[in-house]
Symmetry: C2
Subunit: 105 residues, 2 copies
């Protein structure tokens, strides 16, 4: 069965990239309790340190969407929102086909 | 220590997305032998079935670059090249900061 992926950029206001990344890493720790979450990778563009990326793999889009309401997540979203430059674009949906490094069977 | 990531799209000629994905999944199986490869995820844009994405995490850019010469990989690249629509863009480099789902410590 293929999985649901999402790759998106959150652009922080100038100088806020580190703080935004910290919040997203806290979010990834909450996702440790979500068995339908197979990947929640936080990264940044080395040339644009305020562009923080999140790459996620979930059993389904519904599982991803439900994660936004997990305990502690709405609070992290509230902390992150004022750091963002503009509105988040929502990211790029991906149909996960296979590969190495996560268990997607 | 942060890791080196790469997220890139390979656009196949119309109708060649499945074949290209198969080749990339074969490549990911070769990467099972590369201990510096932490993620090699093959996915597609659900709205553009010929756009195949590869998301990789490596110890370093040098480890990634060296993987292109691993046994069997040049052959897979030769098989994939004629399927591509235009030249691959090279993808987006990412500095991996943390997250759930792969061991990046």
């Amino acid at each position: 069965m293929s999985k649901y992926g999402l790759h998106g950029c959150l652009r922080a206001k100038e100088g806020n990239g580190d703080s935004l990344a910290e919040i997203l890493i806290k979010a990834s720790q909450i996702m440790n309790d979500a068995i339908t979450c197979h990947l929640y990778l936080v990264s940044r563009d080395p040339d644009r340190p305020d562009d923080i990326y999140v790459t996620e793999v979930w059993d389904s889009k519904e599982d991803h969407d439900a994660s936004l309401a997990m305990e502690g997540v709405p609070q992290l979203i509230s902390q992150a929102m004022p750091m963002l430059e503009g509105k988040p674009t929502g990211g790029q949906a991906l149909e996960i086909l296979g590969g190495k490094g996560i268990n997607i069977n």
